[in-house]
């Protein structure tokens, strides 16, 4: 049974990857971002907790459960496409490479064929790369941060509506992770919020607003090494590849719940 479950660390890495690539609202004051983001995170946590109750309590073959699974399947497919599009954009714009398209069949094959448990160890290793990358990023930006830019009084609230970042992982936890980890898992929306908040705060501290997020990487500088944006983007790209495989695995799990596959099709770990 453990073979067909992800760990919360794997789900968290997937959410981190998506949140790091999520664009920030244009010119939003940090205070307002903090307030709205916190409310969104609480709301999503409640929704996540509700989904746990829903999946645990309901008859899995009942119509509402099947309908919910089908809806989530489409949500995951949409997220997969979004992740691929963003990764491809990074490859094309930053690395001048279309190789991700060539690697796509391999990623799809690996995500579909390998049991979920196989992705847990890579997730843990990638988390360390992420932490290392964040430390490098902070070390290169620390000298450029100005505290007075943090609460810029001139920034006005944007007119466009606030978008709550909803990822499929929030609603699929009981199907993806072991039951023992669910208590921790329902707080994953706070991770997504934390990532976005850190990004918004760093943008505010370095630029004071009004720049695209990738400029943060380009502003990096330390000694003889003047550029490290490609390295940090490479870490994100690796995480994006992981997310594509992870979402493939999720889709396979969900599809298996909607249309149970013959036992022979199960992959031997």
């Amino acid at each position: 049974m453990e073979q067909d479950r992800f760990t919360t660390q794997a789900a968290a890495l997937s959410i981190f990857t998506a949140a790091a690539a999520e664009g920030l609202p244009d010119g939003i004051p940090l205070r307002l971002f903090l307030l709205k983001g916190l409310c969104s995170a609480v709301l999503l946590t409640v929704l996540s907790a509700f989904s746990v109750t829903f999946w645990q309590g309901r008859e899995q073959n009942a119509f509402p459960a099947v309908a919910a699974k089908t809806a989530l399947l489409f949500l995951l497919l949409a997220e997969w496409c979004t992740t691929f599009a963003r990764a491809q954009q990074v490859c094309r714009q930053e690395f001048g490479s279309m190789a991700l398209v060539g690697l796509l069949p391999l990623l799809l094959w690996a995500g579909w064929k390998l049991p979920p448990a196989r992705w847990n160890a890579p997730a843990r290793v990638l988390w360390w790369f992420v932490v290392l990358g964040l430390l490098v990023l902070f070390a290169g930006l620390a000298g450029q941060m100005q505290w007075y830019r943090l609460w810029d009084p001139e920034l006005q609230a944007p007119t466009e509506p606030w978008q709550v970042p909803l990822y499929g992982e929030y609603l699929l936890l009981p199907l993806l992770c072991p039951e023992a980890k669910l208590c921790r898992g329902v707080f994953l929306p706070f991770l997504g919020f934390g990532v976005q908040l850190a990004l918004a705060a760093a943008m505010a501290l370095v630029f004071g607003g009004g720049y695209p997020e990738q400029e943060l990487l380009r502003a990096w500088s330390a000694g003889v090494f003047s550029r490290m944006d490609a390295l940090l983007l490479w870490v994100w790209l690796t995480c994006a590849m992981f997310r594509m495989c992870f979402l493939c695995g999720c889709i396979r799990l969900l599809a298996g719940r909607i249309l149970p596959m013959p036992s022979g099709s199960e992959v031997e770990p």
């Binding site: 490479s97 190789a99 690697l103 390998l114 196989r118 843990r124 550029r227």
Partner: protein, 496 residues
Amino acid sequence: MQQLSRDLAENLAALDALFGASADYYSKSITIYHCRGNIVLFDGMASLESLWQLLLEGASRHTLPPEQCTGPQVFRLILQDSVFPAESQPVEDMEDLIRRLTAGMAVLLLDGCPKGIAFSVQGLKFRSVEEPEGEGNLRGSREGFADLLRINLSLLRRLIRSGDLVQEVAQADTPAKTEYGVCYCRSVADPAMVQRVKQLLAAAKPEMLLDSSYFMPWLLPGRWRLFVPVSYTQRPAVAAAKLCEGRILILVNGSPSALVLPALFCENFECLDDYASTAVFSSFLRLLKYAAFYLTVFLPGVFVCLAVYLPELIPPQLLYKIEAAEKATPLPLFAEMLLVMLLLEVIREAGLRMPQSLGHSVSLVAALILGDAAIATGLMSTPVIFVASITSIAVFVTPALYESATLLRLGVVLAAGLAGPPGLAAAFFALLLALSGTGIMGVPYLTPHPFPQNPLSEDGVIRRDYRRLSRRHFVIWQKEGGTKWNRIASPRRRRR
């Protein structure tokens, strides 16, 4: 199965048909206790001198009345009522007879008796117990396994002096009927897994069995893999330590290499010296070994990726030097790197297979003259040769991972050269998946908490002092939750 006949001549005729043409087959007619008999043995495998002392001296003694000297009576007298050091199990059939003879025993066949008596008078010539060349150590035992199975078993028995050690010997299902031994410690090895290994080995039908590694396709059937979750050792001390941790050891007659299963990835970075030196120094060495392994796998690929696709990440001073060196060479950097790596592999293979006296010369000529000439003629650039040389040296820090590291390095260079950063990321993924998917008998090759999440365990990437480690005994078959075989126990201890 052909039974032995009561008629001595018939038995001898059968043996003649089998071995008569062989120069080493020795057969001598004797009379012992007034009974006609025949001694058969293989010259060079059995010692005639020992045989004389044991048997022929007694053959002249006529202590029984002639009427009582029938074959069965003499057989009983020699086997049960005399001081002759005969093997307790009589030879029952032709297959058993051949097995004893090829083991270096002498067999006495008596007229009128359908059984033979075997005498352990082995005089086999064998390589002595020497220090193994492939596993260098500064401290600890200098003994290495020899080629003969029985000697290797005795070396293990000498180190584990308790009834816990079980050493079972069987014949492989091969035309050559090679013997192999399965060793384990009864109290710590998992009985089900021992049984499974024995069944797999009994069912194996290798065409030839010249080394314990020949069993691998039967132990791990059917899947391609980059990493093999077993280890090999030629040191009885290491083998004994592994046995005490519950592992299973397979020895094959004629090979000094013992197969240990299951093995862990982290054990490739440990050695016997680790436990003889201080914890701080051995931890430092282990960190170096990990760094060397990842360096050897990724450095050429990362270099190609950076120089070709992401030159902005390289500091300007270094970039100018690489650029200047590359301008002078005709090949693109990616192809140059591949070429140098393949050349180094050819040089290594040539140095390994040539006679030892020539091997050093070949390595020297290749390394100094060829390398220097390649740069001087402008065929290759210094940075590429420098990077390839570093990786070639670094791989020897973890010799057990040589095959995996070489294949991975080539794969990483190809991926990084052809696909750039996405290819490098994909190669990295492939490594992680290959590591996390490897395992044998339910024991994963990689810990569930890989580096660097679990570096501070008692005996992991770094280790604590031996006194603290000795408080808890590490056994590889640890049950987690009572349902799943899992080797993880933290804190834990491993011994090499």
